[in-house]
Amino acid sequence: MSGKMRILASLVMIAIVAVALGIWIIRGPGPLDFAGGTKVALADYRAGKPAGVPAKLEKASLVERGEYLAKAADCMVCHTKPGEKEYSGGLGFKLPFGTLYSTNITPDKDTGIGNYSDQDFLDAVQRGKRHDGARLYPAMPYTSYTYMTDEDVLAVKAYLFSLPAVRAKPPENTLSFPFNQRWAMMFWSAVFNPDTRFTPDTSKSPEWNRGAYLTEALAHCGECHTPRNLGFALDNRKKFAGAITAGWRAFNISSDKATGLGNWRDEDLISYLSLGHAPGHGSASGPMGEAVDHSFSQFAPEDISSIVAYLRSVPPVPSPDLPAGTAPVAPASHKDGVTADARGKKVFAGACVSCHGWSGASPVSPMATLTGTWAVNDPAAINVAQIVLSGTRRHTPDDALSMPAFGNAYTDDEIAAVANYVTARFGTKGSKLTAKDVAELREQTAE
Amino acid sequence: MIADNSLQAVSRRTLLTGGLAAGFVLAFHLPLRAAVNEPEQPKDATDGKFAPNAFIRIDETGRTVLIMPQVEMGQGIYTSISMILAEELDADWAEVAVLHAPPNDQFYANPVFGLQATGGSTSIRAWWEPLRAAGASARAMLVQAAAAQWQVEPASCTTSKGEVMHTASGRSLSYGALALAAVEQSPPKDVPLKDPKDFVYIGQPLKRLDTPDKVNGKAVYGIDAILPGMKFATVAACPVFGGKVGKVDDSAAVKVAGVRKVVVLDDMVAVIGDHMWAAKKGLEALKIEWNKGPHAELTTRDIWQDLRAASEKDGVVAKSVGDIATGLASGDKFEASFELPFLAHASMEPINATVHVRPDACEIWTGTQIMTRVQSEAAKAAGLPVDKVIINNHLLGGGFGRKLEPDMVIAAVKIAKQVDYPVKVVWTREEDIQHDVYRPIYRDQVTASLVDGKVAAWKYKVAGSAVIARWLPSAFEKGIDIDAVDAAVETPYDFPNFHVEYVRAEPPAVPTGFWRGVGPNNNVFAVECAMDELARKAGKDPVEFRRSMLTKSPRALAVLNLAAEKSGWGQPLPPRVGRGICVQP
């Protein structure tokens, strides 16, 4: 080898190491790496049964087990356009570089997944690889589903194949170059998809392991609650520290006491997950409301407890932009307390106060109480603006809560004003939203 | 069982009895016997009451029931009509009660329209003389009855507050005491009307008759009708105008507690339940596939494009004074166009009708501005003769023209036909807004010229839907919708060259109808905006500019001056407060 060649080889080696190091730095730890204990193959784990269905469904048919798991993985919400047939796809995800539409996963042979073999389905769910070999975009959370067991994935398939086939072709994606180059996802996947199944941690309890499986493989909480890195993959260095997804803020669910779940009581977490509401902490709405209605509310109680046990173990990561706690109840009189924007007050008096009250404690339903919610304590007011724009409709418990969408009734300026008023009156620090911010939020909402 | 308590607290009869005890009352649900007009009035038709015509009933206690040919929707017409009748009748105001008229064009047709309709600010104009004559004629018969009893000349008797008096002999008899005797009298011909200086009620700020029951929840609107065994329905119509129901999967809906029946019509689906909540939840649980029809892809942009194109055509001349071409040829030219959107009526009382279809009859409880049309349309829908359709009209929780349409009653009859019990069909607010008969979109174009700071020529062209052509075809003459150009033709301004045109342009699919101020809400907006812009162009104060052209309309000028004075025109205003002025003929 000549000297020149040696230098060149060294340079190549250095470049490779640099790239690998770069990837390693960007990719960061896996979702379960924080636990640090000894991992064993699922088949070798005897202390409990982290995967599969809860005990009451052990003897149920494959389709019934698949239904439980499909709900736990919350497939339906993303694969259904509101008003259309369930699982028939077509829901649009607005991204900065175009709109991505979810696919039809009913067993229709032409427009759905009717032609998928078991292996095809496993490839799609665990590896992000389509039946025709094309790559899926990571809007499909296959980097989470990859932790599911083959058996569970195929149970979901059996359930989906038991549904009526719906002929419905979702619109073409409108992604711009280079994002419309599906093949490029191959590299993304190679770096960011571990393509590995769940491995229990023998240092943890069986309940924790079950919770880890449910949280990471099925419920894919991190997809919304964990910030993303430069490569648009989950940055588990800040696991569960909160992020903005589809125009809504998913708050901090790490065990941080001030801004996370550290100060929530177990019963609050259980109530929030199974009913979408916890006294003093407000109600789930937006994407979390949907997750509760269609997924968490369907979980067996012991599975909810397992998730809670697991969440408790996630290391605290503070959200520096949030106050160290939520504000107390506001004064009963409109005259007392912080008076911000007069226009915001006017909108609030006309459209909001009848359900939310001047104090923030709802005269109608505890689910409509604003006091204690992170939404009104977020100085960015993202979720306040979003819920004003798009409203909410909660089904758990039966007809629990509904708020009309005001997006077409008020201007961006008025919505900014009322959001600023609400955060100032009911939160710790008033927001400073502008009409432009509201216009941008409108753009991000899935439809 | 929900059904067992569905009528637990109050029947309409107890509501009524409670109301009667309260003094002034709107006796809504009294079964009105066939109202009859002179001279065909059968003597026995009103059971011991003096019923000289279709509007007045006086019983032996003196209770004076006045029958309202126009409907009360907030405009105060029940009080005004009662004042007119009571004035010429010299009735005792404390004894007056009012009753909704039944459908009957022969007796109750609005003289302006030739049918029993309330709208277009016509009630007083139309009924002023007929009702004064009705009151005066009834009074004369009561006087004749008293005079006959006293053996004196009727001319020597006077009347006041429900009594006939003979001053010379100091005798008096109440109208109640005279009621049965008056039945025997023939109505005199050519009864003189009062001199306005002798009016005792008209011109006085009397308290409204309908308000006492409106402060305590006793007032009964159409939506409040309660019938024994009644069920409740709510509807979903095809979200695209002109579309039809395709497939309906009601498997989940029928499982909702309290849901009784799912009714599928041609373009609408209804769910009947034990209460509105069950009906609403049932409707939400339905899976409806619509055949959206030819307008599935129609957009607002398309509709406006069509109207803009149509508005460029020459219209039919509605009025022309002077020489518009010559007038526009000189002076400082001004051009502007004004586009007005579709508007929903959104009356506070959502659309509703309660219907009981029986083998022999169809009975309807609702609040409508157009009684006889509702009756004839309901008859068609029910497949019954018109006289088998009974309508109980009610107070209207706002009309604004929406209840000049019978569509909601037709739909309710079709739903009620499917069951044997009475059904109250109530539209949700969302449905009410989405399936309105909208104020049309209009495009109004103004071309004018200014000479010496005044309008020398004014050309005004309205393009839009001809509601009149659909609603009252007989009034649609020479291609002119008199409503669409109403306040464009009737201008208070003295424009030497003045020209108004109308282009009929119907929007595809979207139903259009009368809305609030009707034609003027379109014309006045455009005319007065143009006047403000012209004033600015002329460099004049908007009030001054208008004054200079109101020379031939002293009344409008006086109103303008008063408005300017009361509003402190020209005085400075606080920040973020504006002030404008306009003249509406």
Partner: protein, 156 residues
């Protein structure tokens, strides 16, 4: 699921069967036949359905019936028995506030609750309490005047 419910309405105990999530409005109107409380929008945006729960103005169209068990409900039919309700009704008649009247049950309930809490409301109090009550006839100016009259006991 229909469940037996008991409510105290205008001082009387009423029993009936209704699903717990059913809004009080429909219980009043469709089960108990108390039609003075009006349906206007069903989403707490117009105020026509306003009733008092423990003296506070609440929109009955979004208030689950299960939420008012053991609480005192007052409707337009009985608000005249309360001191502030009687004052409001009188001022409403004195000033001829009403036109079509459909919203006025709600306006009166909102005004009565305001006066019960704030005996002499200023304009900003009236705005804060009344902004959510819509009147399509546009009687707002007289409503404001009548509230002030009811507060001051003035005669027109």
């Amino acid at each position: 699921m229909h469940m037996a419910q008991t409510l105290t309405i205008n001082g009387e105990t009423k029993s009936f069967n209704a699903p717990p999530e059913m809004p009080l409005l429909w219980v009043l109107r469709d089960i108990l036949g108390m039609t003075g409380t009006k349906f206007g929008c069903g989403i707490a945006q117009c105020g026509a359905c306003t009733v008092h729960v423990d003296g506070k103005a609440v929109r009955s169209c979004v208030l689950p019936v299960s939420a008012v068990e053991n609480r005192a409900v007052t409707t337009i039919e009985a608000v005249g028995d309360t001191p502030s309700g009687a004052k409001v009704q009188k001022a409403w008649l004195d000033l001829e506030v009403i036109q079509c009247g459909y919203c006025q049950s709600g306006q009166i309930m909102a005004a009565a609750a305001l006066l019960a809490e704030t005996s002499h409301p200023d304009d900003s109090d009236i705005d804060a309490a009344m902004a959510g009550n819509i009147c399509r006839c546009g009687t707002y100016v007289r409503i404001r005047e009548a509230i002030k009259q009811a507060a001051n006991g003035r005669q027109s």
